[in-house]
Symmetry: C2
Subunit: 443 residues, 2 copies
Amino acid sequence: MQPTDPTGPPLRVALLGCGTVGTQVARLLVEEADELTARVGRRLEVVGVAVRRLGRDRSATRLPDELFTTDADELVTRADVVVELIGGIEPARSLLLRAVEHGASVVTGNKALLADDGPTLFEAAEAHGVDLYFEAAVAAAIPLVRPLRESLAGDRVHRVLGIVNGTTNYVLDQMDVTGAGFAEAVEQAQELGYAEADPTADVDGFDAAAKAAILASLAFHTRVPASAVYREGISEVTAADIAAAREMDAVVKLLAICERVVDDDGTEGVSVRVHPAMIPRRHPLGGVREAFNAVFVEAQSAGGLMFYGRGAGGEPTASAVLGDVVAVARHRVLGGRGPGESAYADLPVLPMGRTRTRYHVSLDVADRPGVLAAVAQVFARHEVSIETVRQQLVPGPDGERSRAALVVVTHQASDAALSATVEALADLDVVEAVASVMRVEGE
Amino acid sequence: MQPTDPTGPPLRVALLGCGTVGTQVARLLVEEADELTARVGRRLEVVGVAVRRLGRDRSATRLPDELFTTDADELVTRADVVVELIGGIEPARSLLLRAVEHGASVVTGNKALLADDGPTLFEAAEAHGVDLYFEAAVAAAIPLVRPLRESLAGDRVHRVLGIVNGTTNYVLDQMDVTGAGFAEAVEQAQELGYAEADPTADVDGFDAAAKAAILASLAFHTRVPASAVYREGISEVTAADIAAAREMDAVVKLLAICERVVDDDGTEGVSVRVHPAMIPRRHPLGGVREAFNAVFVEAQSAGGLMFYGRGAGGEPTASAVLGDVVAVARHRVLGGRGPGESAYADLPVLPMGRTRTRYHVSLDVADRPGVLAAVAQVFARHEVSIETVRQQLVPGPDGERSRAALVVVTHQASDAALSATVEALADLDVVEAVASVMRVEGE
């Protein structure tokens, strides 16, 4: 090991962006300077913070005013470590590429950029022999990148199931606990600060899809752009869906699912998707409440592993960023590099229709003989095998005849076959309404 | 980055020990050879397996017979990576030191050795510029070493709470679920293979204490020998304790607890202990069932993080070992080293008596006025503050007078004060019996 010298020339750190996370990163770099020096073996010196506008009150960063600059292009040329917390595609991408070309190691929490154009960045970092770290981009402080890339490097990951968006988990948890409908639960989440005024990115699954793309890339060493991720949000989850889950001792969660699969024709590929699904309450993910995040990894030898914690917020995200800063700084002091991103597997991404899943379907049906046979025939015709059927008589209001409900849980089948089955069921005379359709995960 | 060449000379791997874990490691090195080559950038070649006796059937390793040897001393001199899975102190320690002196990087799953004499090994590895990795030594495949050493390197860990022994968790879970007593639950665990014929090392907390020592070293960068860990097993946990926990909506778990604390006199130190404790059912650790393990980490910025999975078994442990093999092999191929063990903090380990905890105490008391006052006085005299008191009348058998029970939950106090309080309570005339005493964690 090369000797470290805490009194040697400091490593120059540049911050790009000074919002919620950037402020916390700056503050911790100042307040924990001695601790960080001990861990890195050299002092970390903040040489500048690039912001869009000067003149705001930045005292929470504990940094002197003269360190703030609007010239990010210049700043990245005089740093050893560049921390990008601007978010979005541009100018973040250009600045990171420029930093890398000038020999800086980079740390980013930018999930949109990584999901959109990760390969360009990884290739640039590799070509210039510098580190690119991004633990903060998925689930904030929950360590996922190192466990997936390093701890499981001698194992085979089959599947990753993640609750990676706190807003939607809070909304679904509220619906489960209070029986509230979707709109009401979103309002509660907004009042408590768990949801944005415009919650689209969360509720429609865009945020989760970007994270799913990154998780799939990590788990399967395969490049998965966010645009290849099948995505359904939670806005159509009803109180009836939640009640149906409860009947099965399950809960509804918005899951990011990444699976390594072999298709019917023998093609090996990955399936990456985000959609609401039922998961048994006794499953470790079933107990993830409120706005917490968790990622459940199924590997050949390791079995099931779960990583749980706060998936958002200034301080948890800053913790992940600083962990990466220490890692890349240590590499510069001690020599050597961390494991680069390598996409040697490059499996194809399978379309959703070819993904195999299970469905839970609740039907309102006519209360007369032959209904079950008619329904079962539709499943059989689509080659979807039924695991359980439950028939219930729902008493009608006074004087009216009672209604019947059929609850069907299927075995695995292709999503296309399941979806065609549900369409055909809706067309059946004996089916009055398809009350709830929900994928089932976690077994 | 230095170019990797999968066709270059292979890295020589030596295995020491061929029991449950060693067999799985050998098998995976053979079966996953191509995958591992892709990840390391060079082929891994098993050059020998040291065993105590030749002639056994080792076909499960998929290795040819001629690779097995009883001469471990010689084997370690001709390997680039030595994997030690013998367990125990000697000859494991001497072999690892010899391997390091000959320039090999080493991977071990030996928690007893690391807890007993880790510093000697780490210093030797550092002096010879090689890696010493040990993810398998704590909680098998659950990634803890990298998250604690690297992901949280920019954060401050305050506390680690771990369920790190599957046998005791299975026993306590059975007691909770079936209402069984301790002896009966141990028998069930033995029948199902979750407990050894002689379960002492698990039941009395020795295994958990060794893991607590390693966790504390990782979390606080402080050397903690296993002998410094306060240890209580679960053999005195009664069905009454479990029922008392249930009343509080809590469960009893054997916890390994590592805390960074500031003592009354301003001394900063670490408290490391293993004992049964109540933890709320809603706490993430409260839902860890059967023989699963989980470690909950509380850090300044990250908040609470939990790592969950199978903490034992041949395959999960082999997964952790192989992850380390890939890491140290990559370092040899690409240059550079992983983060070494550095003990720069070196906080003192506080004795149990000075550790601050909370107690849950159930007392059988006389049913007459003044009892509560007498009991409260004992707490006050020992400067232990009471959080809640619940008084219950327990109807006696027909014709007999009813008994009264007092359930007291305290605020935090030193363990010595709490323990003196309980002793004094037992001496009170009005106290007929101390029915249950249990520490409370998780808040």
